[in-house]
Symmetry: C2
Subunit: 217 residues, 2 copies
């Protein structure tokens, strides 16, 4: 079982590397957004489209076990959205992204976001072909998530803490949360924001724009 | 790969059935509690221990990728807690529960709760050996979770909606949520509660006590 799994992972890494190179050649930035169910991935994407769609050509690859709820929300914001229905599969692999991109024209896009399946575990173990990986969590989930799900926080390029409008209602220690992330991943910035109130969104948007400008220099 | 996976599932089912029978023989009720990260599994267990520990002998099997945060919280409530560190593995299988029970004396217990890894997907696909399965979600996660994670809601015996003290703050339609659950699973009751305020806890405690009384008749 382990050998087979390692073979599958190696095959996936090959597809992921190919995808990354191909998109770099067309200067299309691929970002993988991961979180628990209900942390606010789709809400963040809607805020991002609202802020950047006049300057960047954006598309979204929506992954879900079932339903097209999120793809519908994104499409209604006027951005191309491709739905990947994983049918019970718990995370996105590079081959699924390659298939999804057949429905888009990456050469005509500046940014493609993969909204991964809501899951803090399995997505962190698989390369989607993205140029950067973003891990999101939210205040109601509690400040102990880095202790319990270390891989996703250790292996991402940015951590987003959403729903900070709940900080006054929850026994959530934001400093302690940031310390726990830093211990796992000294490089990754932590952006605290609220997709509902828009507070703190600049941190995320500036990080993203800096990467969009410098990615393929 | 699929054949191997099916073999693993079949092996796991055999272990699960053996475990279920063995615990039934000693009249020890095994309950599997599943949810996303941060929905409030540990908080529910602390409330449950508080309400029932004077009448039932309770123990908890805590599963986490890493850390002993939850087992420590449970143990400090005076209830035996066995920590299963899955080391990156995304759900609990029956063989892990069997190993964990080596640290307890099931014949001396009325109720053992498995606090599964925080994940709405993979735990629903694997039999832990439990007599009943409980799926929990919480208001901040959104009312669309049954649409996006149908298997866990379709295959459980009870659905718990936690953090109802947030209902006034969130665009969460509790009636629509209940309808979505019912469509997937007409048998499973839905208990709405708040582990923080204790509102609605009676629904869960009465369901649990009814099962404890009638399980091995």
């Amino acid at each position: 079982m382990i050998e087979i799994k390692e073979q599958i992972l190696a095959d996936n890494r090959k597809v992921a590397d190919r995808l990354r190179s191909r998109l770099a050649a067309s200067r299309t930035f691929l970002l993988n957004l991961m979180s628990s169910p209900g942390s606010g991935k789709t809400s963040l994407l809607l805020r991002t489209v609202e802020a950047l769609a006049d300057r960047y050509r954006i598309a979204v690859v929506e992954a879900d076990l079932d339903s097209t709820v999120d793809a519908d929300r994104i499409a209604s914001a006027g951005v191309p959205a491709v739905q990947v229905r994983t049918g019970g599969f718990c995370h996105v692999e590079a081959v699924m992204v390659e298939r999804a991109l057949e429905c888009l024209d990456p050469a005509e896009l500046d940014l493609i976001v993969i909204e991964n399946v809501g899951n803090l575990i399995c997505p962190a173990q698989s390369d989607t072909g993205a140029h950067v990986n973003v891990a999101m969590t939210s205040v109601p989930e509690g400040d102990d998530k880095p202790l319990k799900y270390p891989l996703i926080f250790a292996s991402c390029d940015l951590v987003i803490l959403n729903k900070i409008d709940y900080l006054s209602l929850e026994p959530f220690d934001a400093e302690e949360f940031a310390r726990r992330v830093k211990q796992l991943n000294p490089q990754a910035p932590v952006c605290r924001l609220s997709c509902r109130t828009a507070e703190g969104l600049a941190c995320w948007l500036e990080w993203l724009e800096a990467h969009l400008r410098s990615a393929f220099r």
